[in-house]
Every structure is written in C-alpha cells, then in structure tokens.
C-alpha cells in the first residue's frame, strides 16, 4: 500500500469529521464535495475506473449540485420571509 494511498484515506476521515464540525453549512457541503473527489481518486488507485468515473460524475457532481440548489432554494424562502417583514 503506497504512501499516497494512506494519506488519501486519512484525508477521508478528516473530511468526514470536518463535515459535522464546521460552523457553516456551505463549508460542510464543499468539504463533502472534496470527500467525494478523494473517494474517486481512491477508486482509481484501487483499479476500478468505472467506479471512479461514476463517483466523480454522480457523487461529486450531481449530488453536490442538488445540495447547492437546495441551499439556494432555502435561502430564497428565508429571504422572502424577511422581506415581507421589512415591507410591512
């Protein structure tokens, strides 16, 4: 097992912990995205290119996009509420 491999596995754990410990939701989403990318690299190292491509496209790509659009939607709903207040 190469040195790079061990470092990547360590980073996975660091990322997973960071997701729950960061204060900002956006930060933890970006950390999760990094986690998925590291996972894709690990799968590349484990000779599973099919998985690497799928994880990079689905895990890091689509899942993160869905998370971001949800956050945006939530912000939209929240700001709508606060503006109604301001207009009153």
């Amino acid at each position: 097992m190469s040195f790079v491999h061990i470092i990547l596995l360590g980073m996975l754990i660091v990322c997973a912990l960071a997701v729950s410990l960061t204060r900002h939701l956006l930060t933890s989403l970006i950390v999760y995205m990094a986690y998925s990318l590291i996972m894709a690299v690990i799968w590349m190292l484990m000779e599973s290119p099919d998985l690497a491509i799928t994880e990079a496209a689905v895990g890091a790509g689509i899942t993160s996009i869905l998370f971001f659009v949800t956050l945006k939607k939530i912000r939209a709903i929240r700001e709508e509420g606060s503006h109604e207040q301001a207009e009153k």
Partner: protein, 124 residues
Amino acid sequence: MLQLLYENLEQTVAVILFGIGFTILLLQRNLIRKIIGLNIMDTAIYLFLASMGYISGRKAPIVVDGVTEVSAYINPIPAGLVLTGIVVSVSFTGILLALTVRLYRRYNTLDIDVIALLAKGEDA
C-alpha cells in the same frame, strides 16, 4: 490487532467512516447535515465493498489484447455492485432534499427537533 487492522487499512477506514456517518446521522439536528451523514455512511459501505475486490498487482477488468487470464485482472463483481449502490444513494439524496425543501417551506427551519415540536402543535 493493530497489525491486522493496518493490513486491512481500507476496510478499517471504511468502518470508521461508517461510524462517523452514523454519528452525524444521529446527532446532527440540521437536516442537510443529516443527509450528508447518510451519504458518508453509504460511501463508507461502498469503500468496504470495493476493497473486497482488489487484488494487489492486478489491473482493472477491461480485457486488453485478448488476455483472459484470471491472474491478470481484479474481481469485477464488487465494482458492479458499488455502481448500483451509488445510483441508489443519489436517488435517496434527491428525495431527502426534496423533503427538506418542503419542510423548510412549511416551518422555516432545518432543525428536525424544532420541526417535530412545531408539527406536534398542528391539528392532526
């Protein structure tokens, strides 16, 4: 035991990640973080599953130059299973996020405990 764990480092890390994901799932009150925790839990299982198929020194299971020796390629089965699993988990992420949007639109919060309290006050 530590020596054994080091030899199975992939699986060790997968199990630790599973535990972390599980803890996030139980302890985070924020729905979006809960969903991330679920995703971490799932990917941990996929890492565990994929590590079963790896055989050191062998190549990815794509036949090159007509070589069809067993000793040339790694095990293709875990890769196929994980592929299925990844798609299942992205579907679940989509549904859970849709639920989150619905709940937020109704209660203006992401905290599941507060949401449950607010719902309790509603008429059944």
